[in-house]
C-alpha cells in the first residue's frame, strides 16, 4: 500500500505547535522550580531526627514515587477540587501534580547528596561555631549540590516527558496541539511524526547537555550520586 505523504497542513499550523511547545516548557519550568524547592524541604524533613517531620515526609515521598503519574494527575484534577472546593484549571492541576511528584524524586537525590558528604565537614563547621542550619547552607549543600547535578538533569528530562500526560486533561501542550491538528487536518501520520520529532530534538539536546556536564564533573574528579 502506498501512502501519499503531505506535510503542508502540518507546516501551515506551525504556530499552533509552537504555542503547544511553549506551554510544555511552561509546565516543565514551573514544576521543576517548585519541585526543587519542595524536594529540598522534604529531604531535610526526612533527614530530621524528629519523627513528626521525618514520617510525613517519608509518606509523601513513598506515595508519589510508587503511584502512576497519570493517576496522580487525575486525582488532583478531578478529586481535589471537590475536597477543597476550589476551581481547578488543567494548568494548575498539572503544576501541582508534577511539582510534588518531582519533589518526591528530588528529595531522594538531595538526601543521597547530603548523606554523601563526609562527617568531618559537619564537625569542622561546628568547630568554627556554625549552627546546624548555617553548616547545611554554607558547607554541606554547596558541596552536595555539585554531586547531584547529573541526577537532577536526568530527572528534569524525565519530567519533560511526563508533562505530555497533561494532554489527557485538555491542557494545550504540544501533544494536545497534535491531537487537535490531526483531527482538523485528517493527517495523523504526518502530525504525530512531526510532533514526535520535535520532542526528540528538544529532549535529545537536553540529554546530550546532561551527558556533557556529567563528563566534565567526572573529569574534575567529582563523585556523583544517583
Amino acid at each position: 500500500m502506498s501512502y501519499h505523504w503531505d506535510f503542508t497542513p502540518v507546516l501551515a499550523n506551525a504556530p499552533l505547535l509552537a504555542e503547544g511547545l511553549v506551554n510544555t516548557l511552561k509546565v516543565t519550568g514551573v514544576s521543576l522550580g517548585c519541585g526543587l524547592a519542595i524536594g529540598l524541604a522534604l529531604a531535610l524533613m526526612r533527614l530530621s531526627r524528629h519523627r513528626l517531620a521525618s514520617w510525613p515526609a517519608g509518606f509523601v515521598i513513598e506515595v508519589f514515587r510508587t503511584t502512576p503519574p497519570l493517576v496522580q494527575l487525575f486525582w488532583f484534577f478531578f478529586a481535589l477540587p471537590l475536597i477543597v472546593g476550589i476551581e481547578m484549571t488543567p494548568f494548575l492541576a498539572a503544576c501541582v501534580t508534577f511539582s510534588i511528584q518531582s519533589a518526591a524524586f528530588f528529595a531522594e537525590v538531595f538526601r543521597a547528596g547530603i548523606q554523601s558528604i563526609e562527617r568531618g565537614q559537619w564537625d569542622g563547621a561546628r568547630a568554627i561555631g556554625m549552627t546546624h542550619g548555617q553548616a547545611l547552607q554554607r558547607i554541606i549543600l554547596p558541596q552536595a549540590v555539585k554531586r547531584m547535578i547529573p541526577a537532577f538533569m536526568e530527572r528534569a528530562i524525565e519530567l519533560m516527558k511526563t508533562t505530555t500526560l497533561v494532554a489527557t486533561i485538555a491542557y494545550a501542550d504540544l501533544l494536545f496541539a497534535a491531537n487537535e491538528l490531526s483531527q482538523k487536518s485528517f493527517r495523523p501520520l504526518e502530525t504525530y511524526t512531526v510532533v514526535a520529532l520535535i520532542y526528540f530534538f528538544v529532549i535529545f539536546l537536553a540529554s546530550q547537555l546532561a551527558r556533557l556536564l556529567e563528563l566534565r564533573l567526572a573529569r574534575s574528579g567529582e563523585s556523583t550520586v544517583h
Binding site: M1, Y3, E62, V63, R65, T66, T67, P68, P69, L70, V71, Q72, F74, W75, F78, A79, L82, I83, G85, M160, K161, T162, T163, T164, L165, A167, T168, L175, A178, N179, S182, P188, L189, T191, Y192, T193, V195, A196, Y199, F200, I203, F204, S207
Partner: protein, 219 residues
C-alpha cells in the same frame, strides 16, 4: 464533604476487570520489553557497525521521546501505513514495550560492560566462542548485578500501563474514570484506584530496595 465509598465497592466487578486488563498489558510489556531490550543491548555492545548503529538509533529515539507520544503514534498514525486497524491494546503494548526495550537495553549493556575483561579471556582460554562465553560466563554474572535495575524497570512498566487509558484500553484507571463518571464520585473512585496501585507497587519497590542493599553488601 462526606466520603462515601459504597458507590465504588458496588462496582468491584468493574475494578476487577480493570485489574485484569492492567495485569494483562503489564505481562505483555514486561516480557516483550525486557527480551527485546536484551537483543538491542547486545546489538549496542556488538563490534559490527551494522548491528551497533541501528541499535543505538533505536535506543536514542525511544529514550528521548515521551511514551505517550509513542502510544498515540502507534494508535493514530501507524494505521495510515497499514491495511488494518490497530487495537488500543496493541498500540499501548507496542509503545510501552519498545520504550522499555530501549531503557532495559542500556541496563543490559551496562551490566555486560561491568564484567571484568579477564572473564572473557578465561572463557576464550577454555575454547569458548563469543556466544558461548556470553551465555555461560558473562550474562549469568551480569544478570545478578542488573536485577535491581531490571525490577525498577518492571515497576516503571506497571506505572506506564495507565497510559493505555489514553487510547481507551480497559485497565484500572480507565475503569476508575468510568465509575467516576457514572456515579459522580471522582474523589472516592480515583482515591481507590490510587490505593490499589500503591498496594500493588509498594511491595515491589520495597523488594527492589532489599535487592539493592544485598547487592551492595555482596560486591
Amino acid at each position: 464533604m462526606k466520603w462515601d465509598f459504597n458507590s465504588v465497592f458496588a462496582n468491584t466487578d468493574a475494578l476487577l476487570v480493570g485489574a485484569v486488563g492492567t495485569l494483562h498489558i503489564f505481562a505483555i510489556c514486561l516480557v516483550a520489553g525486557l527480551s527485546l531490550g536484551l537483543v538491542v543491548g547486545l546489538g549496542r555492545y556488538a563490534r559490527a557497525p551494522w548491528f551497533r548503529w541501528p541499535a543505538t538509533a533505536f535506543v536514542e529515539f525511544f529514550r528521548n521521546t515521551p511514551v505517550l507520544v509513542q502510544i498515540l503514534w502507534f494508535y493514530f498514525a501507524l494505521p495510515m501505513l497499514l491495511p488494518f486497524e490497530i487495537s488500543p491494546l496493541a498500540a499501548a503494548a507496542l509503545g510501552i514495550s519498545l520504550n522499555s526495550a530501549a531503557f532495559s537495553a542500556e541496563i543490559y549493556r551496562g551490566g555486560i560492560q561491568s564484567i571484568e575483561p579477564g572473564q572473557w579471556d578465561g572463557a576464550r582460554a577454555l575454547g569458548m566462542g563469543w556466544g558461548q562465553a556470553m551465555r555461560r560466563i558473562i550474562l549469568p554474572q551480569a544478570l545478578k548485578r542488573m536485577t535491581p535495575a531490571l525490577t525498577n524497570r518492571a515497576i516503571e512498566i506497571f506505572k506506564m500501563s495507565t497510559l493505555a487509558s489514553a487510547v481507551a484500553y480497559v485497565e484500572l484507571l480507565q475503569q476508575g474514570k468510568l465509575i467516576a463518571s457514572l456515579n459522580y464520585n471522582p474523589i472516592e473512585a480515583y482515591t481507590t484506584v490510587a490505593v490499589i496501585f500503591f498496594v500493588f507497587l509498594w511491595p515491589m519497590v520495597q523488594f527492589t530496595y532489599v535487592l539493592e542493599r544485598r547487592l551492595r553488601r555482596s560486591e
